[in-house]
Symmetry: C3
């Protein structure tokens, strides 16, 4: 399993850079710039479209859809319903990032509603995944009070219930489809002091979904790419400002082989 | 006074990094990323939530609320009314940033309305503070045509009227609660050529309000932190792009003692 | 022609830095921060105001208006109608950036409607300009599938129809008012992997419109400034992250003479 994932990673990175998949984002407004730049740096073609007039139209033709609840409003929620429905009908993969679900009521109900449109992948922190799985485990605002290894059962349950791949981000990321499981020990603690690193991870999953053989593989490869780029960025950066810049440079520079050689995957 | 403010600054910085206060921002959309990153770099936990469904809910539990009028719309204005009312009822401190008040009619009326919910601190440039105090002194768009020392009477008046601490940003910042007054001569002129430096100052005031002994102290300590980080960032940067990055790195790196040793407070 | 444009460039850059023209932006929310920072770095005074309450008021007093369709919604569309009408009545120049026009229906119709308010300049990529001129040439999301030299006839037609200056961005930029034509061979391919470089170009055209002798000259000088800053930024940067930062530094540092000496204008 692990070997197969590492074996296809270089080809999938190359495929993103070659085909430039169109990734439709209904993004978190705070980090839409960073999200678009992360996708561009990796080689994908982001389109940040979140009005109700165009969201379904674009979701039908995009290679993947990324839905982020970070700055949801009633207008954005309407666009999310339209786009995820259109993606499902058009059999396009889509990813959900349930930012701060569990901490605030409106978005918690919205995230549960969106599960009916069957996300291909769900990525959140431990508090968010626990809350979405029905366990009461409120985070503090957007930050988790739990670590992934405390919620593996919740994540497996959620994957079973929804037939989605579930990714729990943290010091060690946990990826599960209820059957296969992976742990990724790459990354650096300072990444949590840059806004939007989690959202960028979700967007990169979208890019890998457009090229990978199956969603579980896409999710693991995206998290490896995030983790390795973040880790190497720390060697160039002095703090959260320069980390963010070096991270974008590295998404552009790193080859699949570079990522495989630094991967800590179990 | 001055000595007491410098004496508690290291402890208050340490308290932010230790307790990670939850700062609820109804932010300026242009600079919400930079604002969130400044708060994260300092050590606080920002949540950028500005929909009408969740703003009151979050304001009730956050350690401080920051309301920025930069990109106000009727939806954001509704969220600001709900959140500031909820914060006042829950006795949570809140800060108002009256961006471009005086230059545009709609937001000038909104800012005056919000004063009824008694901001703990108001931070603006000299044109904005003059306009909010009732003096006619329109700025040019978002930029001030006045310096703080030309509007100290306006600022003192506004502090008296509203029982708020008033901060006037400029080459030398002026902080007043109508009784105590401070001048801060840190900072660098190039900071005005980076969008959102003023908004970041307002957000940092929010972080200090969560830990400081009283609002006047929080405002002065936040402005000192801004000024010293900006000044030292200039030594690393070549222009407004690299200044912004170095500023975030420094908010993360600087100790309270570093800030005290560079402080120019009178 | 070419000589005259290069001859006045240093004076016009100096005029922007001296007069600090107020540039009203109804911006693309993904890149509003980068757009504002590009204008500030060059020396202009940006105001990002896009609510329906204030857009007409500001457009009447601003030195130029920049309208970007990147993240259009029904609210933003209403503000665009109000602001462009107000600018036209007040005889203020305005620039339109038809992001993703041709790829999505709603914004294509909106862009055609806005043409009735007579933009002074229109800047887009080749797919967007072809679509706006009535040729069917859908881009892939926000990215062009054509190069400027494939759509010069479309661009000339559009300039004739609308009495606007039309700028087609690409490896070699093409600028036309239907009579005069210019090609600008500055810039670097990696600029397409930073989100908002095109939007920044449109905004800089706004800044030059506030000071240049006529719109064609403003458009060419702005594209030269973009291209030279991007090209030199590549010498400092390692990838798309550091390119963005160095680009802002260079907009601040470069003199008009620096730009003229690097210009590849035909």
């Amino acid at each position: 399993m692990t070997d197969a994932i590492l074996a296809t990673l270089p080809n999938n990175i190359a495929a993103i850079r070659e085909r430039r998949p169109l990734i439709h984002n209904i993004a978190n407004l705070v980090v839409s710039n960073f999200t678009a730049n992360a996708l561009l740096a990796l080689g994908a073609s982001p389109a940040m479209v979140e009005n109700t007039e165009e969201s379904a139209e674009l979701a039908t033709v995009a290679d993947a859809l990324v839905v982020n609840l970070g700055t949801v409003s009633s207008d954005l929620a309407a666009a999310m319903h339209l786009a995820t429905q259109a993606a499902t009908i058009a059999r396009r993969p889509w990813v959900m990032d349930p930012v701060a679900v569990g901490a605030l009521g409106y978005r918690t109900r919205l995230a549960q509603d969106l599960l009916h449109n069957r996300p291909t992948v769900i990525r959140g922190n431990a508090s968010e995944i626990a809350a979405l799985s029905g366990t009461s485990a409120a985070g503090k605002g957007v930050d988790s009070v739990l670590q992934p290894d405390q919620v593996t059962d919740c994540a497996d349950d959620l994957a079973w219930q929804t037939e989605s791949v579930v990714v729990v981000s943290g010091a060690v990321d946990y990826v599960t489809d209820g059957k296969d499981r992976a742990n990724i020990a790459n990354g650096h603690a300072l990444m949590t002091q840059v806004t939007g690193m989690g959202c960028a991870a979700t967007a990169l999953i979208g890019a890998f979904l457009a090229v990978a053989e199956r969603p579980f593989v896409a999710a693991v490869q995206a998290m490896l790419t995030m983790g390795v780029a973040g880790e190497l960025a720390m060697k160039r950066g002095r703090g959260p400002g320069s980390l963010q810049i070096a991270f974008l440079d590295l998404l552009y520079e790193l080859t699949g082989e570079d990522i495989v050689s630094e991967a800590r995957l179990a």
